[in-house]
């Protein structure tokens, strides 16, 4: 890790999943902020020094889940968003990376790495 630590905000409603992701991404060397609600996400994004990636539970921010994404894109266009949701979930616009939420969190890790360093191949 010669480069400065990247900061992630992990937004997830389920506390167990949230803590697992905090642990897993912490192990990878990221600085991790967690949020259990849309309001927390917004407060982290406004207050934190820098946020490199937002991992967003697709169902967060209301029952339709999609209300938060356009708002984030308007207020924090510099923060890339990885949408973590169930298959068939079609929230969000074209500019957002999507990862299917199943048991395999390695896939989420790969996507976050790719978002942080575009141009680098998956892996």
């Amino acid at each position: 890790m010669d480069r400065p630590r990247a900061t992630l905000v992990i937004a997830e409603r389920n506390a167990n999943i949230r803590e697992l992701l905090r642990r897993e991404f912490g192990r990878e060397g990221y600085a991790v902020l967690t949020a259990g609600s849309g309001a927390e996400v917004l407060s982290h994004l406004s207050l934190a020094e820098k946020v490199d990636v937002l991992v967003l539970d697709a169902e967060m921010g209301g029952p339709d889940g999609s209300a938060l994404v356009p708002q984030l894109e308007r207020s924090f266009p510099q923060v890339p968003v990885v949408l973590h949701g169930f298959a068939g979930f079609e929230a969000g616009e074209g500019g957002v990376a999507r990862v299917e939420k199943d048991g395999d969190f390695e896939r989420l890790k790969r996507t976050v790495r790719r978002v942080l360093r575009p141009g680098e191949a998956n892996g």
Partner: protein, 507 residues
């Protein structure tokens, strides 16, 4: 003028109801037809009255007046004959005539009622008394032999006689005038009755015309139209009946039958609707439950994934772990399938060939098919024409169909995908995909059930695989059929009309 009248009549008629119009016209006709005879009866009575009461009386009076005059005339001769022949016979005859005169006079008094006639009669009687007295005087002079004096008085009596006769003539003339008058009254009344009769005929004809107009224009023609209406069926119904009313009766009984049938159908579909509403509600509830279950299930899956990396397990522990992972995967599949099934239809259509869908699906399932030990062969004469469809949905349907077949063939087997294109009326051009497996086949009694949600013959099935296939096919305007020959195996055929895209551009 008549046109204006007719229009006015029509306008008045139009303001009334049909029933009121018919009643009014019928009432009018009845009234006119009753009034006619009443007037005739009245006229006949009047005519009889005129004859019996007035004309007969007058005629009798006139006749009596004649007789009276005759009696008078007779008296005139007898005195002269007596003077010439000196015979007493003439005097007796004179007495007879005098009695006859007085008798007629008495009779006339009884018959005559008009004051003028009575006054005339009084005059006649008075003059006669005078005349008779003068005559008696003359006769007595003759009897005494004073012929010269008698002759002089006889001339004077003659003048009296002329006056009397004149009175009688006037009396007769009075009755003649009265008879003329009666005749005039009679003619006048006859003219009036004729006028009334002419007016009655005109009114009758007018009312009859309007009644006919109402009957034809507003009852018979509409009846005919009603009988003829309703397209070919109506004409057919009319053909058998010369009478429109019968035809309409027939039509009404047909209609009643139709209404009863429609009522039955309505009841049935109401029942179906209630059933499907209940199902829809249960479906929404179940979808909500499935959606809620999914979240903790994902958490469990993640923890298992994490656990798997660090655990050092002995073989039996390893087996336990794998079963847990497998069953959790199974639950996940059920939940995912259910949510897929409950998902509202959302298609993104694009031109796609079913052959391309077959190729991608088989590529996707290559490893699964190998693990099921299933040989797949594709029968393709040439690439199927493109239809407007959602390729992801078609792929999902085909995956479900292929996996269903694989699970049915427990020991492995062979799977044939046969692509077909053709024309099927009334759908026009169609494309079809026939999936034939070498499994045990399906009991024909279950043909309907296997497409019902949650029906499964497999211990591990979600009961949603084939319902998802059926739903996706139907969303594309197609249908799916199943055949199971006694020789074994099952054949599922998905059929898509090429024109089906028109149907679901809307969704």
């Amino acid at each position: 003028m008549t046109v204006v009248k007719k229009h006015f009549g029509s306008a008045v008629l139009a303001r009334l109801g049909l029933r009121a119009r018919v009643y009014l016209l019928l009432g009018g006709l009845l009234l006119v037809n009753m009034a006619g005879p009443v007037i005739m009866v009245w006229y006949a009575a009047m005519a009889r009255d005129l004859y019996t009461a007035t004309a007969d009386k007058d005629l009798a009076a006139l006749t009596a007046a004649h007789e009276l005059e005759n009696a008078l005339l007779n008296q005139k001769g007898y005195a002269t004959y007596y003077y010439l022949s000196q015979d007493q016979v003439w005097l007796a005859k004179l007495d007879e005539s005098r009695r006859a005169f007085l008798l007629w006079l008495e009779r006339m008094r009884q018959q005559v009622d008009a004051p003028e006639a009575v006054a005339l009669l009084d005059g006649i009687e008075a003059a006669y008394k005078e005349y008779a007295a003068a005559k008696d005087n003359v006769i007595s002079l003759y009897q005494q032999g004073r012929v010269e004096a008698a002759k002089g008085q006889h001339w004077a009596v003659r003048e009296d006689f002329d006056g009397l006769r004149d009175l009688c003539d006037r009396f007769k003339e009075f009755f003649r005038a009265r008879m003329r008058e009666t005749g005039e009254v009679y003619i006048e009344r006859t003219d009036m009755v004729m006028g009334v009769a002419v007016v009655g005929v005109v009114i009758n004809a007018t009312l009859g015309f309007f009644l006919a107009y109402v009957l034809v224009g507003q009852i018979l023609d509409p009846l005919r139209r009603l009988a003829r209406g309703g397209g070919a069926r109506g004409r057919e119904a009319l053909a058998g009946f010369s009478d429109e009313v019968k035809a309409i009766g027939q039509k009404f009984s047909d209609l009643e039958k139709d209404v009863d049938q429609a009522h039955l159908d309505l009841e049935q579909s109401r029942g179906h609707l209630m059933q499907s509403e209940k199902l829809a509600m249960a479906g929404r509830l179940a979808a909500g439950v499935a959606h809620t279950i999914r979240n903790p299930l994902t958490s469990v899956k993640m923890r298992l994934f994490s656990l798997e990396r660090g655990l050092k397990l002995d073989p039996s522990q390893q087996e336990d772990f794998e079963v847990i992972a497998e069953e959790i995967g199974h639950i996940d599949t059920i939940v995912r399938n259910f949510l897929e099934f409950a998902r509202p239809p959302k298609l993104t259509a694009q031109p796609v060939s079913l052959s391309a869908v077959v190729d991608t699906t088989l590529t996707l399932l290559r490893h699964r098919l190998e693990s099921y030990n299933v040989e797949v062969s594709v029968e393709r004469a040439r690439v199927l024409p493109e239809i407007n469809a959602d390729p992801d949905q078609l792929k999902e349907a085909l995956v479900n169909l292929v996996l269903n077949a694989c699970e049915a063939m427990v020991e492995g087997g062979s799977l044939t995908l046969r692509e077909e294109a053709g024309v099927l009326e009334p759908y026009g051009r169609i494309v079809a995909l026939r999936v034939t497996d070498s499994g045990p086949g399906v009991d024909p009694a279950l043909f309907d059930s296997i497409f019902q949600p949650f029906f499964t013959t497999k211990g591990e099935g979600s009961g949603l695989g084939l319902p998802i296939v059926k739903r996706i096919v139907e969303e594309h305007g197609g249908w799916i059929t199943i055949q199971s020959p006694p020789s074994g195996g099952a054949v599922f055929t998905m059929v898509f009309p090429c024109a089906g895209e028109r149907g679901w551009h809307r969704s």
